[in-house]
């Protein structure tokens, strides 16, 4: 009797044993065609990669940085490192050089795996400052024919080395995989963090596996399910779904051809389950709206008739109220005429569970997707607990909540209202950072830093970060994020920053959504030269004013936004204003936009001149001066 698997590579071998060449483990679209790799092929590739890495000197306990888009080769490398008892460190491929350097250096990675020349070039540039890095491995050789560095190796060569190594060391592979224990480090995910340097979250095989098991209990998947790998590999959500979940459930993961073809590839696959942050759901919704506008007269009329009905039904269901027979009947009709085709157009024909997480999702978004028959649910979690901690269950989806804890996860609130999590799936600490680890992990409870509460049905509601909950002059408590989320529910507003701590009232700075507003401006014949120009256009201000006013209607009078400004530039992770997962870094923002914030509280100011420093990807900076308008909100 084989011992039961404890590590991801052991689970992989079990699936390879079970399915062999009968089912696809991973697919990749290349040369316009979906190329499938079976479980047996997946395991074979991992084995060759692992032995190749071993022959290049990769040992138990070593780290390997992984940079690139979601490619099977990169996943294979990650599992290969784990099979040898090492840990992969996935890195955001669009991060600026300093961030990339920090992660690779801090993790003491001895090897770096790059998808292509673009990433290799970045590493070559900082190679002098990465003393621990001994080998750089690349997948796509294009453009590197004349590169002559002794430490640069192609993945093809790694596989050859693996075959040679296997011949010299028979039995090595089996022995190494068998040595793996649940407590071994499986992966280090660096969280960009809203303050200071990124923290390396150490996650064990046991944590990933138990979390995947818990998740699958709440949301069962099997070998017939298809999911899509298109989220950044450095995000825990990707490692969780693209490695742990598929290894445990046996479902198939699909890698898109290119970042620019994701939506198209998504539709070709028609996944049965998908996970995406709100940003992506918003994109899909605006895409759908553009499609509806561009459709022919009849389709447009039908959509405009049925969609509001569907959204009304979805709203009633979300509020747990009864739906009249008449509304039910017309929605059934709408399903055939409008919702079904629209769902198919968006790639959701087979979707059983669509999950959103990472930030709050607008009610209209939720209603829209549920109206067209996409079972959209909220998930709440953190890198420190391998992604999921709560999840909406079918039939109990509510707008304001993030659902009850998944099986195997305990959640309680501290006296301050902070959400605390205890589960087998917790991280083992921050890499080389015992102080922070001690703060976050106390008596087996992970302190999330999020303020929350439980609703009467035992579902969790997240309000804001504990440290961001603020008070106005008169002592009124308000949660900036709560107000920002409400503002961002407008399709025209991409980002919002609510301010007002120790101030007389709440004010806001917003970013417009360039895709949606660009389209809007085009339809109205409004000319503009770029983001800054359109942002300061009086018509844009009127539009956003209306949106802010509408948002105010849903807020208590003390929480209403009294004045607002549209920022002259988009908040950008390269400028350290938001994290790569689009969380505001308030400290930086308050500092950088201090003149605008001051003007928001100066009743005489209707305009403010700002100097903007723009940081380019290569680290160069430039300065420009802009006028930003301040607007009062009527009725607030």
């Amino acid at each position: 009797m084989e011992p039961s698997p404890e590590t991801l590579p052991q689970f992989l071998l079990a699936q390879a044993e079970r399915w062999g060449d009968r089912r696809a483990a991973i697919r990749e679209k290349e040369f316009g065609i979906w190329q499938a790799y079976t479980w047996r092929q997946y395991a074979d590739h991992v084995q060759r990669f692992a032995l190749g890495l071993a022959s290049l000197g990769f040992h138990r306990g070593d780290k390997i940085a992984v940079i690139g888009d979601n490619r099977p080769q990169l996943y294979w490398t990650m599992v290969a490192a784990q099979a040898l008892g090492g840990a992969p460190v996935p890195v955001y491929q669009d991060s600026i050089a300093a961030e990339m350097h920090y992660v690779i250096d801090h993790s003491e990675s001895r090897m770096v795996v790059c998808e292509d020349q673009e990433q290799v070039d970045k590493i070559l540039e900082m190679k002098d400052k990465l003393p621990a890095v001994e080998t750089v491995v690349y997948d796509d050789p294009k453009g590197m024919r004349h590169y002559d560095y002794p430490f640069l190796v192609g993945l093809d060569r790694v596989q050859e080395l693996g075959a040679e190594f296997a011949a010299r060391n028979p039995g090595y592979w089996d022995a190494e995989v068998a040595k793996g224990k649940a407590s071994d480090l499986a992966i280090i995910n660096y969280t960009s963090g809203t303050t200071g340097f990124p923290k390396g979250v150490m996650i064990s095989h046991g944590a990933l596996i138990s979390t995947a098991r818990n998740f699958l209990e709440a949301e069962p998947l099997d070998e017939h399910d298809e999911i899509m790998a298109y989220l950044p590999m450095a995000w825990i959500g990707d490692s969780f779904f693209s490695l742990a979940v598929i290894f445990l459930s046996g479902c198939t993961i699909n890698c898109p051809e290119d970042a620019s073809t994701v939506r198209h590839d998504f539709r070709e696959i028609g996944p049965t389950m998908t996970f995406a942050p709100p940003r992506i759901w918003e994109n899909i919704l605006s895409q759908a709206q553009v499609r509806i506008e561009d459709a022919n007269w009849l389709q447009r009329r039908l959509t405009k008739f049925f969609l509001p009905l569907g959204m009304r039904k979805a709203k009633l269901e979300l509020e747990g109220k009864p739906v009249s027979a008449g509304l039910r009947a017309s929605c059934r009709l709408g399903r055939g005429l409008v919702f079904g085709p629209l769902r198919d157009q968006l790639g959701f024909r087979r979707i059983r569970a669509a999950i959103t997480g990472g930030a709050a999702l607008g009610p209209e978004m939720m209603q829209f997707f549920r109206a067209i028959g996409v079972n959209l649910k909220q998930l709440y979690g953190a890198t420190e607990c391998c992604a999921p901690a709560t999840l909406h269950r079918d039939g109990q989806v509510k707008l304001e909540t993030v659902g009850p804890p998944i099986p195997g996860v305990e959640i309680k609130l501290s006296e301050r209202g902070e959400v605390l999590i205890r589960t087998e799936g917790l991280f083992s600490g921050y890499y080389k950072n015992p102080e922070q680890s001690a703060v976050a992990l106390k008596d087996g409870w992970f302190h999330t830093g999020d303020a929350g509460l439980f609703d009467p049905d035992g579902q969790l509601v997240i309000i804001d970060r504990v440290k961001d909950v603020s008070t106005l002059h008169d002592g009124t408590v308000f949660a900036p994020q709560y107000i920002e989320n409400k503002l961002k529910f407008s399709v025209y507003i991409k980002e919002a920053v609510a301010v007002g701590n120790e101030r007389p009232y709440v004010a806001a700075m917003v970013n417009i959504d360039m895709d949606v507003l660009g389209n809007w401006a085009e339809r109205r014949g409004i000319g503009y030269s770029g983001y800054t120009d359109l942002a300061q256009n009086p018509a844009t201000y009127d539009l956003i004013h209306e949106e802010v006013r509408r948002t105010n209607d849903t807020l208590a009078s003390s929480q209403r936004v009294k004045r607002f400004a549209i920022l002259h530039k988009e908040l950008d992770p390269d400028d350290a204003e938001i994290t790569r997962t689009r969380k505001l870094r308030r400290g930086f923002i308050n500092e950088r936009y201090a003149p605008i914030i001051a003007a928001l509280y100066d009743p005489k100011a209707s305009r403010v001149a700002v100097k903007a420093t723009v940081t380019y990807e290569d680290g160069r900076t430039s300065e420009t001066e802009r006028q930003v308008r301040i607007m009062d909100v009527e009725g607030a």
């Binding site: 040369f31 316009g32 065609i33 796509d140 294009k142 453009g143 024919r145 004349h146 620019s260 073809t261």
Partner: protein, 276 residues
């Protein structure tokens, strides 16, 4: 895996490795007249295997005419063209294409209503052997052939990173992308000699950088010999091995980019000197 585009048995000569041997293309003292207009007068240019040669010169200098003569659109009144050691002066454009010479045009010449993929597939036409009945039935060899050519087209799409627009009608693409699609169509023919007529005209800096990188990648990966017309001197200096300068239909310089840039005659031609 962008490996080989196809079996291209080009002798392994580096960028300047073939200089000692016979040139791939020899343009010998060609003269082209349109009525009284002397477009080219006794211009001679050698292009060696594996070289990137840039042709520069003010407007109306005869650059495009020279390219048109090489690709068989015009026939010179005097002089001859030798390709791979054989006289090819009087070939028609499709014969020239069959020899392994592909080109792009100054004003994009794509089939605007056809998808990018179909446009690129037309670059394969000369390699297809049609059979009326089998093609109609899409059966046997016809099917195999179609798949082979599609695979070749897909390798080019991958190489030039245009996956996202594969099914988009060419006419709907922005100008910079149309230029890239034109390059893709030329590459699909697996040329030995690639003629590019102002591949970067009308592009912004970023698009120019992309295009330069693609041209260098093509040269690196497939050893393709490239002759290009370009106005942007910084691009010319960066990517070409040799520069040929034309003015009023005459060759006024031929040498390394640095030498040509410092050449007084070239400077005069560009800045203009008083003709008294």
């Amino acid at each position: 895996m962008p490996g080989t585009l196809a079996a291209q048995s080009i002798p392994d000569t580096g960028p300047a490795g073939g200089l000692g041997r016979d040139p791939l293309l020899r343009v010998e003292a060609i003269t082209v007249r349109f009525g009284a207009l002397q477009a080219l007068s006794a211009v001679s240019v050698d292009v060696h295997r594996g070289e990137i040669v840039a042709i520069i010169g003010p407007n109306g200098a005869g650059k495009t005419t020279l390219l048109n003569v090489i690709s068989g659109f015009y026939h010179p009144q005097q002089g001859r063209i030798v390709y791979e050691g054989k006289d090819r002066t009087h070939l028609k454009p499709f014969d020239v294409a069959a020899l392994g010479i592909a080109r792009t045009f100054q004003n994009v010449a794509l089939f605007k209503g056809m998808t990018v993929l179909d446009n690129i597939m037309t670059g394969r036409l000369l390699k297809m052997r049609g059979h009326f009945l089998l093609d109609a039935l899409y059966w046997g060899p016809a099917k195999r052939q179609e798949l082979e050519h599609r695979a070749a087209a897909e390798r080019v799409i991958d190489f030039l990173e245009i996956q996202a627009i594969r099914k988009t009608p060419a006419g709907r693409l922005p100008y910079g992308l149309q230029k890239r699609v034109e390059l893709a169509r030329a590459l699909a023919a697996e040329p030995q000699l690639l003629l590019l007529d102002e591949p970067m005209a009308g592009m912004n800096v970023e698009e120019k950088e992309d295009m330069s990188r693609f041209i260098l990648d093509v040269h690196d990966e497939f050893g393709t010999t490239i002759v290009l017309i370009e106005h942007d001197m910084s691009v010319v200096m960066d990517i070409s091995d040799r520069v040929v300068a034309l003015d009023y239909g005459r060759k006024i310089a031929d040498g390394s980019p640095d030498a040509v840039r410092k050449d007084q005659v070239v400077i005069d031609a560009y800045l203009g000197v008083a003709h008294d």
